[in-house]
């Protein structure tokens, strides 16, 4: 080990990102529906019950928007601006029948998740046959989803806030196999890079960074005394398939992921297919 680059690599690996816990403010929640006022109130009650362990009754102020409160996306954004909530609660395909098909979140949500800085919690559509069933049991198992777990402090902060005492928080990082294989294919064609070393170390390095941060989050949350169990999972795979499998196996009651990406206006590359296709599980989009 004799060059600047080699030592720099060791020090860069040693300079780990640590998780510092602080509880997010969730005192003001705005439930957005496209129902009539009376139905909205009923729906609000079931949603409040569903989140009774995390959005505690005495600490959370609830507001509700029903069908008559907004006619367009612009009006909805105006209402959000007016209420200034800490959290938006709604369901996919507002004011649309297309919730039956797994191809979009609907225009209201597409805009809402990108324009507002407020986290949006997307519930399964209330017209689903199993809708009431899905909101029967409060979420116990929450999964923070990331393709780049290292440094995802806000993701873990919100995910932990939605994990009730005694519940389980799963910090999940799935390294996309297709992308990694593509990089390794390119490396195989570069004579200056040792292919065997790259194959051996690249995946290990990617997963280690995620594991280290998740481990730091685990200790940070333990120190914060939230009374939740934290499990870290970092693996190579196919994101959509793996998450779908975990949800089908009943491992997850609530997914938490980032919906915004700095360099694009559309929804985060990984979040969009998950949010669109995983329709039976509530998803918190940050």
């Amino acid at each position: 080990m004799s060059t600047v680059d080699q030592f720099e690599s060791v020090f860069k690996a040693a300079a780990k990102t640590i998780y510092l816990h602080e509880s997010p403010s969730l005192g003001k929640v705005l439930l957005v529906t496209d129902m009539e006022e009376s139905d909205s109130t009923l729906y609000l009650n079931s949603v409040r019950k569903y989140f009774e362990k995390t959005l505690l009754p005495g600490e959370t102020k609830w507001e509700v928007l029903s069908k008559k409160d907004f006619q367009s996306v612009k009006e909805l954004l105006g209402k959000v601006e007016e209420y200034q909530p800490d959290l938006l609660l709604t369901y996919r395909n507002l004011r649309s029948e297309s919730w039956r098909w797994p191809y979009s979140l609907g225009e209201h949500l597409d805009v809402l998740t990108q324009v507002t800085t407020t986290p949006v919690l997307v519930l399964p559509h209330p017209d689903r046959d199993d809708a009431s069933e899905l909101l029967e049991k409060s979420p116990e198992k929450v999964m923070a989803v990331s393709g780049h777990m290292c440094g995802e402090g806000s993701l873990i902060k919100y995910a932990s806030a939605f994990t009730p005492k005694g519940g389980k928080l799963l910090l999940s990082h799935i390294e996309d196999k297709v992308t990694l294989d593509r990089y390794l294919d390119a490396i195989e064609k570069i004579p200056d890079i040792d292919t065997d070393v790259a194959k051996e170390t690249l995946l290990a390095r990617l997963l280690n960074d995620a594991k280290d941060f998740a481990e730091s989050a685990r200790s940070g949350l333990e120190r914060a005394g939230l009374g939740i169990s934290v499990e870290c999972m970092a693996q190579l795979g196919s994101r959509l398939e793996d998450y779908r499998k975990l949800i089908e196996e009943g491992e997850v009651d609530l997914l938490v992921m980032h919906a915004k990406e700095d360099d694009q206006l559309a929804m985060h590359g990984m979040a969009h297919p998950l949010a669109v296709e995983l329709r039976s599980v509530p998803i918190l989009l940050l």
């Binding site: 080990m1 004799s2 600047v4 680059d5 030592f7 060791v10 020090f11 040693a14």
Partner: protein
């Protein structure tokens, strides 16, 4: 040859090749003019055995080569244990992310690593850590100041022990200075010069402490993320590396007192320790052979060959005559003038040929060669080490520091370096002259 070495960067040629070509010419001319002792070296009788050697072999100081080869291999293998990175990260955390404290700790670490390892390795370790840690602490604007001060401190640390730099090894060996005596003589100067350099660095580059509690908490949280164990592959080898480093330094310090070992010399000690460390990597030992600085080793071999020819051609006597006016200045002004002259010369060319040549010349003067405490030896040691701080090409470690500066996209030209470094170099040289006058 010296001019070509000074222009090494401009002519894009490795120093081993430059000196190698000159050694070919020198040997050819030496043979042509019947200056070389062919008869003596072809009829050597050692232990009753007649040995025939090529004429250029006995002129090489193989002890110096063995010390450099052995210690660089030892350091290279030991660094794989994660020991040096562990120390470096621990000190970073100890600073709590405060820039001034970081500068002091990195400065002291540079001096100690330069003394124990070598100044190039020290600069590589501390310089690369500085880049990473200042970026992490969002203090990248202070990088130039840090790297420059560290580069200057490598040459101060290089003065601390007999094996800290090549001029020390060459001059110390020729003068017969013991490891402990060398350390005791150089240590007070190194401490003073380090303190002054750090103080000046913090003033000139405006590196101060963090002011608000918020800044301090944020910096502390950021450095808390450093994991000192990241570079440790095996805890067992880490402990072994730490123990062996202490034993190595102890053995080197005690070589002249240890029976049997004192006859085998420092080169044997360095090579033996390198061999012991390599056992851990026995199946891939060749990987470490590839990382050896063969350019430096071939440079030495060829340089010794050139100097040997110059000795037979009485060129060194001639240069010695030129030095007589300096010697004639007396026991105070003479060493002071030699120190400054050595520093000036080694600022524009490699300090190793200069040290090797001056060591040969001083060694040929009976009144100096018989006295290891002669101030002239120390004048060459101080001058050849400190001269490296005047220009970026004055020493390999300052060159490494400039390389890292450029790697981070910071602009620093040759003249820019001289402009910034000159106040430090003048103060360090003035301190050196005063120290030499007081202590001899």
């Amino acid at each position: 040859m010296i001019l070509c070495l000074a222009l090494e960067e401009k002519i894009h040629a490795k120093k081993s090749l430059i000196v190698g070509l000159f050694s070919v010419v020198a040997l050819f001319l030496g043979a042509w003019f019947n200056l070389l002792p062919f008869t003596d070296v072809s009829n050597l009788v050692i232990g009753g055995h007649k040995i025939s050697l090529p004429v250029y072999i006995p002129g090489v100081d193989w002890e110096v080569i063995a010390i450099i080869l052995g210690s660089s291999l030892f350091v290279d293998v030991t660094s794989k244990s994660g020991l040096f990175t562990w120390v470096a990260v621990k000190l970073t955390k100890l600073s709590s992310g405060d820039p001034l404290r970081l500068l002091i700790l990195y400065g002291v670490m540079t001096v100690v690593f330069s003394a124990v390892l070598n100044n190039v390795t020290a600069m590589i370790i501390v310089g690369s850590l500085t880049g990473v840690s200042l970026k992490k602490l969002n203090q990248s604007e202070k990088l130039l100041g840090f790297l420059l001060v560290e580069g200057l401190l490598t040459n101060i640390g290089g003065l601390l022990t007999l094996i800290s730099s090549v001029p020390n090894i060459i001059v110390g060996k020729t003068a017969g200075i013991e490891f402990i005596d060398f350390f005791l003589k150089a240590a007070p100067y190194v401490v003073i010069a380090t303190v002054v350099t750090l103080w000046l660095g913090s003033r000139l580059f405006k590196i101060g402490s963090l002011k608000t509690e918020e800044e301090k908490t944020s910096a502390k949280n950021l450095v808390a993320g450093f994991d000192e164990n990241e570079g440790i592959e095996s805890p067992g080898f880490f402990r072994f590396g730490a123990i062996m480093t202490f034993v190595f330094i102890g053995t080197v310090a005690m070589t002249s007192q240890l029976p049997v070992v004192n006859e085998l010399g420092l080169g044997f000690v360095a090579l033996s320790f390198a061999g012991i460390m390599l056992v851990r990597y026995k199946s891939v030992a060749d990987r470490f052979y590839k990382t050896i600085d063969w350019d430096l080793l071939f440079f030495f071999v060829c340089l010794f060959a050139v100097i040997n020819v110059m000795e037979h051609a009485r060129v060194l006597n001639l240069i010695g005559d030129w030095l007589m006016p300096i010697m004639g200045l007396g026991d105070s002004a003479g060493p002071a003038a030699l120190l400054v002259a050595s520093a000036a010369a080694s600022s524009v060319t490699d300090n190793i040929p200069l040290a090797a040549m001056l060591a040969k010349i001083l060694g040929a003067m009976p009144e100096i060669s018989s006295n290891p405490d002669s101030p002239y030896w120390w004048a060459v040691i101080f001058g050849s080490n400190l001269g490296g701080n005047i220009t970026p090409i004055g020493s390999a470690s300052t060159l490494v520091s400039v390389t890292i500066i450029h790697k981070y996209g910071l602009k620093l030209s040759f003249a820019g370096f001289v402009k910034v470094a000159l106040p430090y170099a003048i103060i360090q040289l003035a301190l050196g002259v005063v120290y030499l006058l007081i202590t001899t």
